[in-house]
Subunit: 240 residues, 2 copies
């Protein structure tokens, strides 16, 4: 059976302007691969409601799971929760379970639980909360969309909260063969091998080090014996 599929939506002007370098995508990609869920597409959009709503609708319809990062804080540019609700025609308001969590958190710190902070308790109707052990303000899951914070430590904590609740497939295994030959020299033999192992994916990644050309060949698949067999054939084809 094929593994479940996923998409990610990264939300935020600061990523698209180049001010901030996104690191959440790379983290999620690695975690999903370990969990046997295939990350098939990523989109990054600005803090713009029509763009967010359209992307959520397209990705939620196209993949088993959608993971979003960014835009769930207390400020005016944090519009993700409202956009997710709009994408599914769900109502949204300050919800008691989220409000209780946040009220206790600010009381412990002696800080006012003001209107801006209460915005973080706005959760779409029908959503399940995602635990945030780092800074309390929760994410949420609505249908197949998992909505998480953009701050990397919080994002990572939320991914760790959500992933164990999802059914994964067989983890994707990979083996790498490092060849001190240029891509152009190995392309024909590699292509013929890939055509025979249609259940595996074979990627070729050139590098240059100390003036010499080389290529890393990565063979990926869910059946370890097949990956090993293809690797052995490849190694025999291009001896060191």
């Amino acid at each position: 059976m094929a593994n479940p599929t996923a998409a990610m939506l990264v939300i935020g002007d600061e990523i698209l302007s180049g001010r901030t370098r996104d690191s959440n995508m790379h983290h999620l990609a690695q975690e999903l691969t370990k969990h046997g869920i295939t990350l098939s597409e990523v989109r990054m959009v600005a803090d713009d409601a029509p763009a967010i709503v359209a992307a959520v609708q397209a990705l939620a319809a196209g993949y088993d799971h959608v993971f979003t990062s960014g835009g769930i804080g207390p400020t005016h540019d944090d519009i993700t929760a409202d956009c997710i609700a709009a994408a599914f025609g769900a109502g949204i308001d300050i919800r008691d379970d989220a409000r209780v969590l946040l009220a206790a958190h600010y009381a412990r710190q002696g800080l006012e639980f003001n209107a801006a902070r209460q915005r973080m308790a706005r959760i779409p109707d029908g959503a399940t909360l995602i635990d945030n052990p780092v800074s309390i303000a929760p994410g949420f899951t609505l249908r197949n969309v998992h909505v998480m914070a953009g701050v990397p430590t919080v994002f990572q904590a939320m991914v760790a909260s959500v992933l164990p609740t999802l059914t994964g497939g067989a983890p994707l295994l990979s083996q790498t063969l490092r060849l001190m030959r240029g891509e152009g020299e190995i392309a024909e033999g590699l292509g013929a091998l890939a055509a025979r192992y249609t259940d595996l994916s074979m990627g070729s990644y050139p590098f240059q080090r100390d003036g010499a050309y080389g290529t890393n060949i990565v063979i990926r698949g869910t059946d370890g014996a097949r990956v090993e067999a293809a690797l052995a054939e490849l190694a025999a084809l291009f001896p060191a």
Copy 2:
């Protein structure tokens, strides 16, 4: 007049599996911002022809420029050029100008210009070549789509070749105010300010350092005097 808009399409299994961390998006975002072109959307897809073709068509129709990275080498998984041709119904074959560049390059190195290496001279009909001073194999521009390599040094060289040929707008200016206050404390005042300066974008990025909470407020716009005026109001609102 509004600045031109752009989208980026990152192509490659190795990014989505988490094996490789993409760095081209961040580089392009910074260069476009300097050049006065607004990066509005990014998509990342696998080495999968239908996914690449669909993304190219959607982005080319939606934005003034599309920049792609990845998938233009000599191996079987390098399918970008053929997908771009298919997206626009253009023919594609080994083209003389590209073949001449590559033949000379391999002759200089004493390497065979074999069938795999000749694949890198496959250029869609009607496309213009993009210079590659690093490793010779050219990128190309077809209509509003600029097709570039995934290897970061080559990608960056190609961006430097293409950008000066494009009409930019006013560069996006930004100023940052660092406040040692949590987002929840400044959200109300910041929101009211943002509502009055609708020509600017104001982003708020929380951080935590040595146990203290703080927020960087970034004000962006193309009119420097407006950015300065908003910054001064913000600083007066939240004195250190």
